[in-house]
Symmetry: C2
Subunit: 267 residues, 2 copies
């Protein structure tokens, strides 16, 4: 197996560049770091172009590396200083793979309950929400407006590989996403911090054909998006509403979508 | 007003030491950083011993500083290099106060729904849970076992001052906390990731006299704690349960306690 000793190796430079959004868009690739995430990518059927690892990673994470090597054509041993330029963390696991950005076929019809995020800026929040949606079995997700990239190193870490298994769709505009969903028979609910809106626990949310729209951490949904909703829903609170952060609010909304499914099944 | 120019000033050294848990315990004090947190401490009736701020902070955050200065006897202007030794963040706001650790009177009876955390290790998780509990109006909180300190700089930041307004109780042992709560007529529910336990949405959780126990991020509740619960509850999931992180699980449990209250009120 070839050992890469230089940070200036073109493959290393290309991989390191993928930490930035512009390079991911240009190349249609992303960089995945860490034993568990790389293994998850391989087992989830993500297309892996190549992987890089140090001898130390090979010794420590052999069981994780195996499915990665089986899934990709090119594996490279790298020296530790090379691993450093690829890493996004302080004490990384020195195991990386370059993967093809997964894409949803836009002609594929939406299925089951759907979460639409608009302008969510924080990659940690975005990853956490994708991870929670996966826990609750909600696999239809649309990222609209200026949402951050779910395939950035930080979003991938927070998401624990959820974006490999349920690939989010991307929409330029949340209003257009609403029209598209309605065209498939969905009702669109806009989440607002407004005590006058429909309490989410009292909204009929059967398992299919409901989409909940959640906006930016500080500003919520855009006015023009809210104008295209079928109704406005809210989380009724006995306490201090400003204390609920964006990802906690999304957790409650996802849970309510999931819980209503349970009620349907259990009677 | 006195200007402190040396990092070796005894007041500065004492304040900086409060970033560590041992010093907080020894002195019965904690250090609060940032314009909003310091103002929240003052407005929440936390006892403030003294505050430190740079001239820049005084110019930028005058409105926040005002209630702080009104609440404490001693205010000190400090030079920027002094503010650096007090700060726990990279680009801080150069505004700090030294506060007396709030304590609950252990003889005071518990009131309303209660969340008990056991061995929660991550200060970010702990702060987020306190913040979410406050959003849902749940003000009775017990930190048991080896929970981290809610008055560390990181937990305070994540908690947005929730620990000023609803002071958590501290218990050496979650089992003893359960006995104490039962002595006050509470039912104790242990949260477990076990599909065979009672689904939380089907547990009768009236607003008063119910306590939900949540364990460590990786290991859950200790066996001896679980043995002292009245029942075991779980979050039924349609998806991949391992994807639900500790603070998302706590959010769902807190919401269910809050939601049941709404149902009681609305019929």
């Amino acid at each position: 197996m070839e050992v890469l000793t230089s940070r200036k190796n073109p493959l290393v430079r290309q991989a390191a560049a993928l930490k930035e959004a512009a390079a991911r868009r240009r190349e249609g690739l992303f960089l995945c770091e860490g034993a568990r995430l790389c293994r998850d990518a391989a087992l989830s059927g993500v297309e892996i172009r190549r992987c890089f690892f140090t001898r130390r990673a090979q010794e420590r994470y052999g069981g994780y590396l195996e499915p990665v090597l089986a899934a990709c054509r090119e594996g490279y041993l790298v020296e530790e200083h090379v691993a450093q330029v690829l890493s996004d963390t302080k004490n990384g696991q020195e195991l990386f793979c370059v993967c093809v950005l997964p894409r949803r076929d836009p002609r594929e019809a939406p299925e089951g309950p759907c979460l639409v995020l608009e302008d969510v800026q924080d990659p940690g929040n975005l990853g956490t929400v994708l991870r929670t949606a996966e826990a609750f079995g909600i696999g239809e997700m649309v990222l609209a407006g200026s949402c951050c990239d779910p395939y950035s190193p930080k979003a991938l870490r927070a998401g624990m590989g959820a974006a490999f298994r349920a690939v989010p769709r991307v929409a330029g505009d949340a209003g257009e996403a609403a029209d598209w969903l309605r065209g498939h028979g969905y009702r669109c609910h806009g989440a607002v911090p407004d005590a006058g809106a429909l309490p989410i626990d009292q909204v009929e949310l059967s398992w299919g054909r409901h989409a909940v729209f959640v906006g930016n951490e500080g500003n919520g949904l855009r006015a023009q998006t809210l104008a295209r909703m079928d109704d406005r829903v809210t989380i009724p609170m006995a306490g201090r509403a400003e204390s609920l952060n964006a990802s906690a609010a999304a957790t409650v909304l996802l849970w309510e979508m999931c819980r209503k499914h349970g009620e349907e099944n259990h009677g």
